[in-house]
């Protein structure tokens, strides 16, 4: 599958679901999300208050003025404070009193995010994330995943060259590694805005592997996780409340679609060089990986633009129907 075809397909998948969330209510509030199961990402509730003396910094002063004139505008004031505090999460209550100073009490809930992306063989799991907020944690993990993807593509290029793959595939893998360097920096900057620091990737690259092994890894990490990573990034580029996150993920979504297209091209090339049993193992691995994505969804986040559960299910279903069900498509 060529890059442009796949990108068009992924855009169909995302745009078909946009009305539900971006459209009408943003991400579904945490109250509507099923309680987290043990060992799944959890939701925490927080309360915070502050006393502001006037005049405040201009962005805050603008919202204080608006709030004083119109109670409905107080939401923007509390949201701005949450942004200043790098809390992330969903605002629940906002109470403002003007009494010489500005007394603000607000509450919000946050949930821990999960991520998708191409991971290399030999990856050492990340240590605890250095992040004070859920948003920062998600971005730090995403930056870490982008960084480890650099190793994954370097390894892929090395192995493709070893197995005599067409020069174009090798070059595309190297270009993808370069993309991931940029992504890691980009998302790392976003994480820093939310007070988080990505872990350093620790990868011990394996020896050159057989085509069978590469095919299975490519099916899981590329055809499934990278493809769905492109879908999610595209979704985020449309829905993230933070405009800088939207902007960053617009770039990332385009590149990830190209990487996913590479995975499908590798899949098609390897399929002609492995036997029937191996092809069956590859297909089974792909089905299992897609199923695992559905059972470990990221928590919704309006700031990050991560979809609510029903939207995620829609994205998965449409990706299944349009991309994965067609095998190598």
């Amino acid at each position: 599958m060529r890059f442009r075809e796949l990108r068009h397909l992924l855009q169909q998948i995302v745009i078909a679901g946009l009305p539900v969330t971006a459209a009408c209510v943003g991400s579904v509030p945490d109250d509507n999300v099923d309680p987290p199961a043990p060992n799944e990402c959890g939701i925490t509730h927080h309360e915070q208050s502050t006393s502001l003396t006037l005049p405040a910094a201009p962005p805050l002063q603008l919202r204080i003025n608006s709030c004083k004139l119109d109670v409905d505008a107080c939401i923007a004031l509390c949201t701005e404070l949450m942004r200043d505090w790098n809390t992330g999460g969903t605002l629940k209550t906002c109470d403002v009193v003007f009494d010489g100073t500005v007394e603000i009490a607000l509450s919000y809930s946050i949930g821990e995010p999960c991520g998708v992306g191409r991971k290399p063989a030999g990856l050492v799991a990340a240590r605890c994330l250095d992040a004070p907020t859920a948003i920062g944690a998600w971005l730090a993990e995403a930056a870490w995943l982008e960084a480890v993807s650099v190793h994954a593509f370097v390894q892929l290029a090395r192995e493709l060259e070893h197995h005599g793959a067409p020069r174009m595939l090798v070059r595309l893998a190297i270009a993808a590694a370069r993309d991931e360097v940029r992504h890691a920096a980009l998302v790392g900057q976003l994480a820093a805005r939310y007070g988080a620091r990505p872990p350093i990737p620790e990868v011990t690259l394996p020896a050159l592997r057989s085509l069978d092994e590469i095919a299975v890894e490519n099916a899981v990490e590329g055809c499934v996780r990278e493809t769905f990573g492109a879908v999610l990034a595209l979704w985020q580029s449309n829905t993230a409340r933070d405009p800088m996150i939207r902007d960053a993920f617009r770039v990332i979504a385009r590149d990830e679609a190209r990487h996913a297209a590479l995975a499908w091209m590798v899949d098609a090339w390897i399929a002609t060089r492995i036997d029937g049993d191996a092809r069956t193992r590859v297909a089974a691995a792909r089905v299992l990986a897609a199923h695992q994505l559905a059972t470990s969804p990221p928590q919704p986040s309006e700031v990050l633009g991560l979809p609510a559960r029903q939207d995620l299910e829609g994205l998965l279903a449409r990706t299944q129907a349009a991309v994965w069900a067609g095998g190598a498509a």
Binding site: V20, V25, P29, D31, L62, S66, T93, N238, P243
Partner: protein, 611 residues
Amino acid sequence: MRSRVHGALPTALSLVLLASCSAIDPTVPDPTRPSPEPPPSWGVPITGATMLVTRDGTHAVVADPDRDRIVSIDLVREAAGAVRALPPGDEPGRLVEDGLGRIHVALRRGGALVTLADPSSLTVAERRDVCPEPRGLAWDAATDLIHVACTGGELVSLPAAGGPAVRTLILDRDLRDVIVTGDRLVVTRFRSAELLTLDAAGAVISRVKPPTVKRIVPEIELGQTIPVVDAIPAVAWRTIALPDGSLVVSHQRQVQGGIKTTPGGYRSGCDGGPVEAAITIVRPGDVPQAAVPRAHGTLPVDVASDELGNLAVVLAGSKFVQIVPAASVGGRDDDECGEDNSDGAARGPMIDDRLGAPTSVGYRPNGDLVIFYPELPAVTLHRRDDLVAGTPSTTPAHATIELPGPFGYDSGRALFHGQTGVGLACASCHPEGREDGLVWTFAELGPRRTQSLAGHILRRAPYHWGGDMADLGMLMDQVFTLRMAGGAATRSERLSLGPWLDRIAAPAPVVRDVAAIERGRALFDDAETACTSCHNGELLTNNMKFDVGKGVPIKVPSLLGVGARPPFMHDGCATTLAERFGACGGGDSHGKTSQLTPAQLADLIALLESL
């Protein structure tokens, strides 16, 4: 994307407020609490480009249309200076500096050009009536003339030093910006985004438009062939000249993929909405070129260039300013999704000062950037070194200079200009509260020409051509909340939007041949033509629905300002008023005009142009 009340928040917020206020008499405002009722309407529709940075870089001069005043800012001392109040309703707009440092300001509703002696004192040297709705301004160094482009089609030239106009040309209506290029003038038209080139004698010697580009329209049903459609130029918010003589047009495009009345149905194209921001470059002697779109967002109301050709594009609906490096401007838009596929291409930072919607931008000669935010009001100053490609978008402003005067707030105004989930604002299709001159193809309804909101909207219910929207609340629910993916409007927004829109005036009438207009009025009032059987009353509509020979009942539109809004009829089939009286206008099922001679029709059209 605009902040929005989500999920359980309204209830929770209400509970907190009720609990806190339970011991307080609700009829007495509590000064320690946010006002439960929204304030009176404030501000006018965003037009963009109402700030000038002087050539020497020492001052910015802000025309503040929301407060009818002009404000000087000393950029060296980083402090606000003189404030020049104008009569209420003047609505100051574009500004230009002449060779002696005088500042000339177009008064959009005041119908005049006001000349200020210098950018520091803002002493009024002269006020000259120009035309009913002056828009764009340019200073011609060779002739020392100020050229004023007007909505009614007048292009008026006045001596910069003062005195009456020396030339008035009548061009097409809906003029916007005017630029001096050698001994020629280039004048833009707002909705069509057309550029007219005039020779020294004032004759139109060429007409060009930004190019149409290709876009894909992802369909909901999977597996279908993805259609490729035209994205046509529209709504030229702002046109400027680059240092090399090229012109830059900051405009919109209509992605012609068709829209639906279903939730989220106003989406199309790669960026979500059926309207996209665009930059077109017009190099001398070359055809206009669509530049690689590096300014994704809503309402590209202003653009400025530094001396190196780097651009700053104001995306008022998205509430940020996008820097487009000069090296990126040259790229051609040849991708169906408007993306730049060249790896590693430079992207400029996106400036988000978090001060509401920016409306105007300008560069100092040293490359520093000045941005005007009308609500607080304030200007921010960004250093050149913070604007280069690769700089984080989070770089804060070097300085925020708060301007004197009252805080400006109107939730209806904010909603009208704010970007929704499909990348669209109300003002995308209703720029300046009017209309975009476009026909939209609805899957369920067929072609529908955008209707103007200007001119007593609250007295014109029901709404839409089918008259199927009983009131503004229903329209907000159906169109803003659902089709545009705007989310549920707050109580304040619902209360505020109507009164804010209702203050937007219909386009000023064009009165040229009084005798013809009077003859036309007699025909209009004649019982045989039956125009007034439907187009009656102060607003020239009875607000009812009729089938005027088009096969479907259509809401009678107000004829106030009708001459300013071609194409005509609900499906836009008549590109001129004359065509309205041809086959597509419904014949004698739409009034009775078949008996009129060509001369009488011309008189009737003269009247319609003057309404």
